[in-house]
Each structure stands twice: as structure tokens, then as C-alpha cells.
Symmetry: C3
Subunit: 218 residues, 3 copies
């Protein structure tokens, strides 16, 4: 997508991010009792949805998801993997969370950079970085007919690490300091914040006095 | 978007429409018990979703939602507003309905005009006017895992006022009579029809003999 | 869309496909107890959603759904039809299934060809053929707040016939053997496979050992 890293390195990092996101989609499909095509569809939607949304919005069509065979095949491999090994994958759920956090850190960085390369301003680019990182998961939950976990207060925060990572990249671009090292640090920032949120159960507040002024309907 | 009004006036009207739609999204997020990021996300999706859909469909990318900082910040202000003041905002729900009706009237007009400026025929432009006015609310309800209130028979009609306003604009364009005055009248037509629907509880019929030939599953 | 058939023939086949898909959307709207505008909206989303997604992804904007008045009016006719005649349409549900299967066969072929004409590679083109055939139904189910029947294991397979038809077209393009005859055979292949799946209740497997290792939550 961008060429600050060696293109080959960048490409493999993208593939890794797509793969771990696709795993989370395939696992939800198994939990929802979908058939093998449902598993593959949800894996593809989760792995590619965020980047697809970004590319359609910035006018980068056809999107990378449809022009790079590697991006395209990766979710199918994730689906096959989960299809045969899902009890083991479930057992290593913690590892999946770590990989998903890595995907978040990576995608909020590459999403922000690509949006800026297509001429968007820095705040809008950071917003698309967030959308790239979180969009696949939202699409996964909507297709599975669940409330997106991005929106639920009873899940560890996901948007904040992505916003922080994306904003860090926007700041680096503004300062003219974007290079492979600082980019990696921004991705690491999003990654570590997400891991900390998972480890310590960080949650975001609901509306001011929400808990005391009204009964829960959630 | 269009320049029939003074661009500044137009811009502030757009901002006002985005703000009131975003308020309705933020309020639903509070009712669904989402956290503060869920509130901001749903506010942004509701305020910007209709215009985003229109712009992607007509090829106006990147969409206005991502190129104008004002459009972008407005839903966040609405989210902060609801976060702190939601018991009061709920109490003034009637006022929100009035503002939402104003947003409907405005967006069905500006959506139709923008689609026509991008070369679409008049019926398709009117359809995109409807999509601009109603799209944000549909996205809001889908993300919140609810049946879109646009589709439900037990809610006051929403599509009709938007269709009437958008069709009036299409007719005005056809007659060569579109100007700030007639445009304002078309927006007022959508606005007043929606207010009347709310006041008198106007609902649309279900399928012919639906109520007598089958049990409700809705 | 493409011109391998006589354009007029192609156009009427497209209209027929949109019509039968729209019928399935309108019938679901009646079952969900939506009002007349909900019926029309769901009919339009089902009939046009798959092609709309394809056109936005490949950059063919504005999409055919908004530039061809026939494509645009067809779902409304389907909605009126179901509005007045739905008990009869329900009774002839089997006929609807046959038409829907015909729509599937047709759309997976035309979707693949159009994507390839816009420069996508053959695997990506076949994926968009599948998306064209299945996308409208997924949008229908998401808007109706149901789990997409495409994903559910307890429904007859839908993706496989579409994938087979789309892949057959991709193979024909690769071999330089795409012509009206082979194209028709590919569409017939998707059509017949879907009919066989319906007739014999073909279902796809769930995840390996899914049925024995975990309780159903679906």
C-alpha cells in the first residue's frame, strides 16, 4: 500500500493482518453454527472489509482486496484452518487476541497512510485508519446479526488503541517524521494499548450517569 | 454541495442537518447502553451515512464527509452533547423530532440536486435524495442491531415526506424552475409532511389483507 | 452489461433477474410485517444490491441500477405485485424459488463478465460474480435483521451453484471460449445446481466435528 517499508515486508505484514482478522471471523461463524461457506464468507468479510471500505471511500478502485491474489486467498486459508482445527483455535483464543491486536496496530497505520496518499486531510486520514482497523470486525458482527463489539460497553476498548495509533501517524506526517522506525513505533503503540486493555479489562464509560438514571436495556 | 444558495448558508444548513441526525444516533446508542465510543460511532454513522452512500454511488469520492472538517467534527460534538446531557435531550425528544424532520427536508433536497449535478437522471436523482435523507437512519438501526424504523409499519411514515420533497425538486429541475425560493419550498414540504405524520400518527398500510390473512411475526 | 448476447436480450434477462430477486425481498418484508414502503425498499435492495456492490467495487459509477430506468422501476413493480397478491405469491413459493435460481445463474455469469471487463483478474471476477448473485439476498436479510440465509447451515446451499457458475465463466474467458452458447451453459449450470440443491435438500457441512464438540447456539 505505501512504500515506506520494503514493499515485500509491507505485503507480508498486510497478509498477516488479514489472516488474523479472518481467523476471528471464522471463529464467530463456527460459534454461530454457520456452514463451511458461511465460515469462508465471514472470514473474508472480516479480513478484507476494513480495507475495502477505505478503498471505496478514497476512490482506490478496484480495491486491493480484488487486485492482489494473496489478499484474496488468505481469508480462505484462514477459513480452512478454522474449519478443521477450531477446537484448538478456540483453546488458543488468547493467541488469536494477540494477533488481532497486531492486526489493529498495523491496519490503523497503513490505513491512515494510504488515505493521506489519496489526498485526504490528516483528521480524515486518521478516521479512515480507524475504519480500516475496525471496519472488518463491524461488518463481521453485522453479518452475524450481533451488536458490533466495537460499540458495546462490556467489551475491552478497541477504538481507542486504533485512534491513538492512527493519530500518531497523522502527527508524524504533519511533522515530516514518518519513516519505517516511527511508523513501527506507531503500530506498536496501538498494539500495546490493545494488549493492555485486554489484560487489565479496560472499558470505556457509558453516558454520564447512564448507570444510575436508567435501567439497562442493552 | 450545490451553489443555489449562498455557499455559506448551504454549508451551515448541512451542518445543522448532520447535527440533528447525529443526535438521534447518539440517543439510540445511549438507549442501547453503548460506551462513549459507541455513542460517537453511531452519531457519525447516522449524521454522515446518507451523504456517504450518495457520494460513493455517484462517484463523488472522497466524499464530502471526509473532505470538510466541519462535517467531520459535527457528529463528535453531538456525541459529547448527548454523553453529558442525555436525560435532558431525552426529555426534549419532541424538539429532536422537529430537528430531524428539518434534516429530512433539507437532505432530500440537497441529495437530489447533487446527484443530478453528477449526471444522474431525474428519477434516479430523486431516489438518491431519499437515500441521502433516510440512509443515515437505516445505517444507525442496522449497526444497533434493530429493524430499521424506516421499514416498520408501527412507526410514522418517513419515506413519503422524503420522496415527496425529492420528487418536487426533480420536477422543479425538469421545469427549469429550481431557485433558492422553490428549493426552500420543497424542503419545507418534506419538513411539514413529516411533522404532520408525527403529529397525527400517520402510518402506511401493510400488505393488502396482511392483517387478516396471517398472524403477525414482526 | 456485456454485449455477448444481443443487448436487448441481455437487458430483458437482467430485468427478469432483478424482478425475481425483488419478489423474494418483498415477500420477506410482508412476513416481517413491514409497511408498503418497507416492502418497496426491501424489494429494491434485494433486486439491485448485488449489482450495486459490484459496480461500486469495480468503479462503474454511477451504477447501472441508477442509470437505467428499467432496472430502477422493476423492483417497484415487484413490490406492487406482492403488495396486492402476496397470499397467491406465497402459495406459488416454489415458482419463486425457480425464478430466484434463474436469477442466480444469470447474475453470477453477467457479474463475472462485467468485473473482468473492468480489468479485474479472473479469480477476483468470479468472486464478484458470486457477490452479484448473492449480495442482494445478504442485504435483504441484514436490513430485515435476520441472519443471512447465505450463511446458515440449515438452508440449502446457495453459494456453491453461484461459485460454480462464476468459475465456469472465468475458465471460459481463460480458454477464450466465451460466447453466447457457453455463457448460457454456464448460467444453466448454476441454475440447475441450485434447483437440485432445493429438490434434494443439499446442505453444506458445518465445521469439522462441530455437531459433536459443542452445543448449538445458532
Amino acid at each position: 500500500m505505501d512504500h515506506l517499508y520494503d514493499p515485500d515486508v509491507q505485503h507480508w505484514l498486510d497478509i498477516a493482518g488479514i489472516f488474523v482478522f479472518a481467523i476471528s471471523g471464522a471463529l464467530l461463524a463456527v460459534r454461530k453454527n454457520f456452514d463451511v461457506f458461511g465460515i469462508a464468507t465471514l472470514a473474508a468479510a472480516t479480513g478484507l472489509g476494513g480495507g475495502l471500505f477505505r478503498d471505496v471511500v478514497i476512490g482506490a478502485v478496484p480495491p486491493a482486496a480484488f487486485t492482489d491474489l494473496g489478499y484474496f486467498v488468505t481469508p480462505l486459508i484462514a477459513a480452512v484452518f478454522v474449519f478443521f482445527l477450531h477446537p484448538h483455535v478456540e483453546r488458543i483464543n488468547k493467541a488469536v487476541n494477540v494477533f488481532d491486536a497486531a492486526g489493529l496496530g498495523l491496519f490503523c497505520v497503513t490505513g491512515t497512510i494510504k488515505a493521506h496518499e489519496y489526498g485526504l486531510g490528516l483528521p480524515a486520514s486518521a478516521a479512515l485508519g480507524l475504519a480500516t482497523a475496525a471496519g472488518g470486525g463491524v461488518l463481521r458482527d453485522v453479518l452475524a446479526n450481533e451488536v458490533p463489539s466495537l460499540l458495546r460497553w462490556d467489551r475491552e476498548i478497541y477504538a481507542v488503541p486504533a485512534v491513538v495509533g492512527a493519530s500518531a501517524v497523522a502527527l508524524l506526517i504533519h511533522l515530516g517524521e514518518l519513516n519505517p522506525l516511527t511508523m513501527t513505533l506507531a503500530a506498536a503503540l496501538g498494539f500495546v494499548l490493545r494488549l493492555l486493555a485486554l489484560t487489565y479489562g479496560w472499558r470505556a464509560p457509558r453516558a454520564w450517569r447512564r448507570h444510575s438514571t436508567a435501567a439497562d436495556e442493552g
